[in-house]
Symmetry: C2
Subunit: 518 residues, 2 copies
């Protein structure tokens, strides 16, 4: 049954060279996804107008709390009605402000071959972030360290479908919390030359990230090149806090993109109705997107959110549910309506282990966000247990799923259609194609062969030790890490980054999480 894998004919070198070519793993990053899918436009134009109008009425009549004096002063100067800590921007002002947000831009990575377009039909896959635990290379659930974080940055560097090393994929709990943002940022920069995310845990931490980006890329370069992304979480319903707004200003002033992310627990902090939840989320996102332009006109900004629905039985967040898919379709339409790039969360789910639930949840969400037309596809690898842990095994499988989603959303390949059709009369009724020259020449590229799925017979699978998907994925992770090569970083730049970190760690008191709890 086995069809031997045939390499493209080498010009010289013979059998050994061909064998080497065959087994050489390819870590080349996939290009940014350029989607060929017709996006799932579940709303008609009139329904888009309904949501828009409802959101604008919320902004004008309910208002949004900006719990931050600088923001309130900024909004007043910008001409918004401000009463107490509540801002009531009218729809004219909101539309005027968001009009200057770029509809697309380019992310610049350390390796310019890994620059990426964002917006419109252009999308990127970014791993999960923020897990307080990991399931490690032995599938053991435990508190993560800086070494664990480095491991995830290395895997992000090597996995072709991941376009970013993100930032705190897991929380490195062996380092003082007040210094962590420095080490996290350095780890992202050092272990990968893909783009990365920037910590926004406080305004001052965000400034540190900007300083480190300036060291890595040059101060002037930042002014005209997006090199990182800061996430600004809202407190739904309708609140933005001081910490987040200060961090937002640090990024916007340097012209670095931010995700404006309402934190939606549908039913708990939104109305129990899908379109009404979207209207509120949309109002929240618009208020923050508009504020980015108050800070700096033309600064890149991305419509974002954390998206879950809440089980009314237990209060737990849910993912992979029908309403999450529907909200993704609708929010995608709203973001396109405003001409703003859109970030959504990908493989969210509540499974405790890497089980069938995790598979259903992740695949349902991946399909939904691809059909919805998301641009910044965040939390694309590793997420499990409602974000409480990042699983190494799931990280590997999710990344392959992203590669499959990338292939699917790129649409069918028509290039060799006419040539392929010629095989039909050659083979004829009742024949088979495995030996046909067209098949021999194209089988490697025609059909995706997932490495992490076992499609052998049960007899073969048992003969090979009945290896479950978690064990297969962990073996793959170990094999990848054994082949990891750190991307070159200019020695002077590296030293400057280390010096900056050392200085700041002297300046900032080392505060532990344990101390913070008291």
């Amino acid at each position: 049954m086995t069809a031997p894998r045939q390499p493209a004919p080498a010009r010289s070198g013979g059998r050994a060279a061909r064998r080497a070519l065959r087994s050489a793993p390819d870590f080349t990053m996939l290009p940014g996804l350029r989607s060929a899918l017709p996006f799932c436009e579940i709303m008609e134009g009139a329904q888009i107008e309904l949501i828009d109008s409802a959101s604008m009425e919320i902004l004008e009549n309910v208002g949004v709390q900006f719990r931050d004096n600088i923001a309130l002063a900024d909004w007043t100067r910008a001409g918004a009605k401000v009463v107490g800590d509540r801002v009531y921007p009218d729809r004219g002002l909101v539309r005027e402000l968001i009009a200057t947000i770029p509809s697309g831009f380019t992310y610049h990575a350390r390796d310019p071959k890994k620059n990426l377009a964002l917006g419109g039909r252009n999308a990127v896959f970014v791993p999960m972030t923020g897990a307080p635990f990991l399931r490690d290379l032995d599938d053991r659930r435990r508190v993560p360290t800086l070494d664990d974080l480095a491991m995830f940055h290395k895997l992000s560097h090597m996995l072709p479908a991941l376009h970013s090393s993100a930032h705190h994929i897991v929380e490195p709990c062996d380092h003082p919390v007040s210094h962590r943002h420095l080490r996290i940022t350095y780890s992202s920069m050092k272990h990968s030359d893909k783009m990365f995310m920037g910590m926004t845990t406080s305004p001052r931490n965000a400034e540190d990230v900007m300083e480190m980006c300036a060291i890595l890329f040059g101060e002037d370069y930042l002014e005209s090149h997006a090199v990182t992304t800061g996430n600004i979480n809202g407190n739904s319903p309708l609140v933005w806090d001081e910490t987040m707004l200060g961090a937002m200003r640090a990024f916007c002033r340097r012209n670095q993109p931010v995700l404006c992310s309402p934190f939606v627990l549908g039913g708990a902090n939104t109305p129990a109705n899908v379109p009404a939840a979207v209207a509120q989320l949309n109002a929240e996102a618009l208020s923050a997107l508009a504020y980015t332009q108050v800070i700096r006109k033309g600064a890149p900004a991305i419509y974002g959110h954390y998206l879950s629905t809440v089980s009314m039985k237990s209060g737990a967040p849910m993912a992979g549910t029908p309403e999450i898919s529907l909200m993704n379709f609708m929010i995608g339409q709203m973001a396109r309506h405003y001409g703003v790039p859109w970030c959504t969360s990908n493989t969210l789910g509540g499974a405790k282990t890497f089980d069938a639930q995790a598979g259903y949840e992740s695949a349902t969400t991946l399909s939904a966000v691809l059909h919805a037309g998301a641009n910044y596809i965040w939390h694309s690898a590793g997420w499990n247990e409602a974000g409480m842990h990042c699983s190494v095994a799931k990280f590997i499988v999710d990344a392959e799923q992203c590669a499959m989603g990338h292939r699917m959303a790129s649409g069918p390949q028509w290039g060799d259609f006419a040539e392929a059709l010629k095989a039909v009369p050659d083979v004829g009724p009742g024949g088979h194609y495995l030996g046909h020259p067209h098949t021999q020449a194209h089988f490697q590229s025609a059909f995706f062969m997932p490495e992490m799925f076992d499609n052998n017979s049960i007899e073969q699978w048992q003969a090979e030790g009945s290896v479950e998907i978690t064990a297969r994925a962990l073996a793959r992770a170990r094999a990848l890490l054994a082949q990891y090569e750190e991307p070159a970083l200019d020695a002077a730049t590296d030293e400057a980054l280390r010096d900056y970190i050392a200085r700041r760690e002297r300046e900032i008191p080392a505060v532990d999480e344990l101390n913070q709890d008291h």
Copy 2:
């Protein structure tokens, strides 16, 4: 975990009655899906024409083998060029023939409340069929019996999102193979009052199914009502055999619908190119669809297929791959182009256990077929191990996934949008919605709460015994079966069916599989 079945709510009774209402499990069948999704039209009109034209050239120039003398004579009479056992129907004849296939029709079930529309935006979920093994209520993989088959028919009867009890969900291997079709058909009819499928394992077996349908519904009723579905598999590339064609004639003559199903192992029995594989599959489907109308003009027929791609490493069929999704989108477009209802296979996959691979594969395929706009969504529950076993646990979870897909594809509910929005000013910035009257009134219907997904904290999950999804689903299956109530069947009809089976079992020699092997 067991939700006790509660009687319908009394007209009075206060708190206890409301509690009973809340916990009463609902076995009411979901209505047929009326999809609100904009279908994923991955091809432009010119590309649809390209596929159509390539398929017609295959039919006209390569031809299709009909390995059956009656069919060859029929085709000759219908005006097709026939050379040897190859039929070369020209595109004019094909278009003329398929034009009389109804674009939609109604399935009639034993319980008329369970009648279902098919075609256009109307879709139904049908469980998997044909598994030679099962994973049982103890997750033990073994050879199935008639009792196992009855169990799956009972579960199909009770699970709301399943619209059919199908036929041989598993092969009942404790009964002579030559008599099996009678017992399978009786089990489908007896244990559920939903629609069911009809065995097509031979022309004579198909006649037996038709006779049993005539006993159940009345001979005249069949003439004008679709009550079952026969599957006619092709041997790709481009072959239809005598067994299948004879069975097709048995169904078409009685005006009962057939699935015209090329059996596609992409790359092995098609070209290694997605659009070319679709062109061949489309030619095959058209040739069989056209033949249904040679048999009986106006007979209902459904564009079908078994769809997998083949791993060129192992020869194994693969599912949940990007090309499967793309082919589904494209085939859906072709079926709509011809105005013929379309059947596709849903949760195919190659996992050996009910693991994360099974979850990814199934959810990816479910999403794809919903976006593709399939009408007869077959193999929607239980499929695993490339169809070698039907898993009870997966059957339960897949059926819930179908309910979730049904909800998603039905689109957002706008009914209480204005009312829900009124909660936004009531709650205001920083508030929460859980106690709001709108939430209280709507939480049960607003957000789907999957029973088979555990979204509790890990601490809760551990405190409850760390129950994995397989165990949760098997507990649910046992609870369902404990509450099963056989739908009433008229005693005289039941006796007539039993008499028919007894007579036929006397007439047909009892042939075992073991004997057949010699």
